[in-house]
Amino acid sequence: MRFRNYNFDFIGKSKIWIIISLVMIIAGIAGYFIQGGFNLGIDFLGGSLMEVEFTRDVDVTEVRSVMNDIGFRNAILQRTESNKFILRTTPINTEVKNEILDSLDEKIGTTGTLLQDRNVDPGFGKQITKYAFIAVGIGIVGILIYIWIRFEFRFGAAAILALVHDVLVTLGVYAILNREINTSTIAAILTIIGYSINDTIVVFDRIRENTPTTRKLGYIKVVNDSINKILSRSINTSLTTLIPIILLLILGTAALKDFALALTVGIVTGTYSSIFIASPIVVAWNNRFPKYKK
């Protein structure tokens, strides 16, 4: 493998990158409204959930018709395997659950054991949501303070904007695909924040290191050179991180796949934003409030 010295002009084309990002975010927002909001899981909305194993392979229409017959038209059905289904309803008690199970057993045939069984009080879901927001908020503020101390405020602000970008894009993908958002998704989003910041720091670190050469080269050239220098590291790290995550997306169970999807999207946008969003913001900031001059 040949070692190459890249020399791409990242900053000069920054308008293009920002348009690409805006298009992705707007697509996500459009998806949000078209799908009628996020597909929030039982963790947030409360309700009852059962995973049933049937004695044979069944399709959605068959399960749906049984559920309709017993008056659960609004139940959400999710096929996890050819003979396994997750049934989600409004909060119901054990007796009603047993009625549903009896009907399914009678009409289709079940193995009689539940794979999982959950009841979440809607009030509790609100509490989970509250803590999710607090966790994201505290995480972001902590990161901002750290970068402020280690670098400069402008770097911290640019990194946070890149983070917001990553979170918006990831949530947009969830809205467009109408995938369920649960507590695992929140953990995944926080991980993305950690990962994306990690990537951004590597770029900023190079910019910080090369800043003394600004007088000779100009700030735009400094930033461009820095990005080019870390390009192969960024791509390689993203690849090595993505390898196991994509395997999880292919091989994992439904719950693991949920997690892996958010991480895959987040790692890709995280890598993209540290190069194409965070760095141009730093340059734009310097253009407006020049600190480093030629």
Binding site: M1, N5, G139, G194, V202, I250
Partner: protein
């Protein structure tokens, strides 16, 4: 030469760490049968303390609320947790874990392949046993017929037929049923001004002299009576306390509690009872069984102190009914014929012997000092979790191999170091998880797989720097030194930010998310230590051997690219 000694010491420390890790990983008895599998997953699984979502089990989250005006304190919460532990032990459920979460909810984890079914219902039962005198039963009159009033527990209100002409309080419902002598003690009316629900004295059939007109809002929840109420006749007003879910009768003037409306479990009728005269904490013995007629019952006997009070109550109230109330529900209300002096009582009105045994168990363990509301109940079967664990581990193993192939392909000789570093990383990681007994959860698996990818990152940063230095025509040995030095700051800064995220997750996350935060931060710290100390030392030591220390070995074709 001094440097060399340092590097050898570091490597020796790592060998010691690996040995300790391997000890913890291998400590569990090895099932030889499992070795026949191509990859010994059984060994990996047995050395780790698995979370409920992986091994299967039940998690119950209970939110404490104040009971009887007593606020929830750390002390009452701890006491409640102790009682819950006791109940789970008596139920014979294995290895329960009772903890508090961030919002002071009680979190109960019971491992087990089977859904514990009814057991989960009685764990959080308040089990407050009270003895209170029955004041009367509410009935509604409609077209010359009467019916008992029902009670909506969820809404905490009386269900009143919108067409009812009037709602009355009858002192002895059994007498009314059997056609014996009974008295009407009160009438339920709605104050047209304050819309308060009032209980007023009933003065006979001709109480309607003021042309009382009953109307209803239609939802059956209240009746509006267009009538002037004589303040003299008001017994009290009825108020609902949503925080404790109590429907109380209070004094009209000073608001002091004089009674409570409870549901009779046998008839479902709304019954007014007086104040609490005796509670379950005065019990000495509780036994579920059958009485001489073969009826299911729970026999109670009081401590000396309780015997005296019970004797006093029964001798002063002959001819009245004494309600035995368990968790705000009237179980039975026997008629007091003679004073009871031996302190024996019984609870009847129980449907099955299992229920009687549950009542026995909860009364034996004592009443909880707080009320508990079921916030979340989750049961995960063992197959589902094991499936995730197996698939997660396979994804990790294949990912691990692919990463090593990639590193060897791209960084040539340096790739060998990163492969070695990655293997050591995984051994130490697994050893620590086994050693500290942290529970591995489903998001935890994802965390581990993510950190495998991230663990390589430090190597990538270092190797890229080394390559850069070699391009600048530095000798490999010097390039390695500069490479590590330049990479150090980047690696520390980038990993600290990840740790900040993990800390936020740990502090505010629930259950499995915390497991994820633990694996993520462990992974970040271990990978940093391994690449900055172990990989560095091994590369330095090996760089002394000139044959394997050419630019080509380090993945650079010198000058050919410039």
């Amino acid at each position: 030469m001094r440097n060399k000694k340092v590097h050898i010491t570091i490597i020796a420390i790592f060998i010691a760490m690996i040995s300790v890790s391997l000890y913890y990983i291998l400590k569990e008895p090895i099932n030889l049968g499992l070795l026949k599998e191509p990859i010994n997953l059984g060994l990996l699984k047995e050395s780790i303390n698995l979370g409920l979502d992986l091994k299967g089990g039940t998690q119950i989250i209970l939110k404490p609320t104040e009971r009887g005006g007593e606020e929830v304190t750390t002390q009452s919460l701890d006491q409640a947790m102790f009682i819950i532990m006791d109940r789970i032990d008596r139920l014979g459920l294995s290895e329960p874990l009772v903890t508090k979460d961030l919002s002071n909810n009680i979190v109960i984890q019971i491992p087990g392949e089977k859904d514990p079914g009814k057991a989960k219902e009685i764990i959080g039962k308040t089990a407050q046993l009270e003895f209170r005198l029955v004041t009367g039963t509410f009935i509604s009159i409609k077209n010359q017929n009467w019916d008992t009033l029902k009670f909506d527990y969820e809404k905490g209100e009386l269900v009143i037929d919108p067409d009812a002409e009037k709602v009355l309080l009858v002192d002895d419902i059994n007498a009314l049923v059997s056609g014996n002598l009974y008295e009407i003690d009160g009438e339920l009316l709605s104050d047209p001004e304050s819309e308060e629900m009032l209980l007023v004295k009933y003065s006979g059939e001709d109480n309607q002299e003021t042309d009382a007109e009953v109307s209803s809002t239609g939802d059956g929840s209240e009746i509006n009576v267009d009538i002037n109420i004589d303040p003299e006749k008001v017994i009290g007003k009825i108020i609902y306390k949503p925080e404790t879910r109590e429907l109380l009768l209070v004094d009209y003037e000073d608001g002091s509690e004089t009674g409570e409306i409870l549901v009779d479990s046998r008839t479902g009728a709304a019954t007014l009872v007086g104040q609490v005269l005796l509670t379950g904490d005065k019990l000495a013995k509780v036994a579920a069984g059958y009485d001489t007629y073969g009826e299911i019952r729970v026999a109670l006997s009081f401590k000396d102190e309780g015997v005296g009070i019970f004797k006093e109550i029964t001798s002063e109230n002959i001819g009245r009914n004494l309600a035995i109330v368990l968790d705000e529900e009237i179980k039975s209300a026997p008629y007091i014929k003679v004073p009871i002096t031996d302190g024996d009582a019984e609870i009847t009105g129980i449907d099955s012997i299992e229920e009687a045994k549950n009542v026995e168990l909860v009364l034996q363990t004592g009443a909880l000092p707080v009320n508990l509301h079921e916030e979340e109940v989750t049961f995960v079967g063992p197959t589902l979790g094991m499936d995730s664990l197996n698939k997660g581990l396979y994804a990790g193993i294949i990912g691990f191999i692919l990463i090593i192939v990639f590193m060897l392909f791209y960084y040539k000789g340096l790739g060998i170091y990163s492969a070695l570093g990655l293997i050591i990383y995984i051994i130490i990681f697994w050893g620590i998880i086994s050693g500290i007994g942290a529970a591995l959860t489903l998001p935890g698996i994802a965390g581990i797989i993510l950190t495998i990818g991230m663990a390589v990152d430090a190597n990538v940063i270092i190797f890229e720097r080394i390559k850069e230095e070699i391009i600048k025509s530095k000798s490999p040995r010097i390039a390695i030194g500069y490479g590590f030095k330049n990479a150090l700051r980047t690696i520390v800064d980038s990993n600290v930010t990840t740790l900040i995220t993990a800390a936020a997750l740990y502090r505010f996350g629930t259950g499995p998310i915390r497991g994820f935060a633990v694996t993520l931060s462990l992974g970040v710290v271990i990978s940093m230590v391994v690449s900055l100390l172990f990989t560095r030392s091994i590369i330095f030591l090996m760089s002394g051997i000139s044959r394997i220390n050419t630019p080509g070995f380090l993945g650079v074709r010198r000058r050919s690219s410039e």
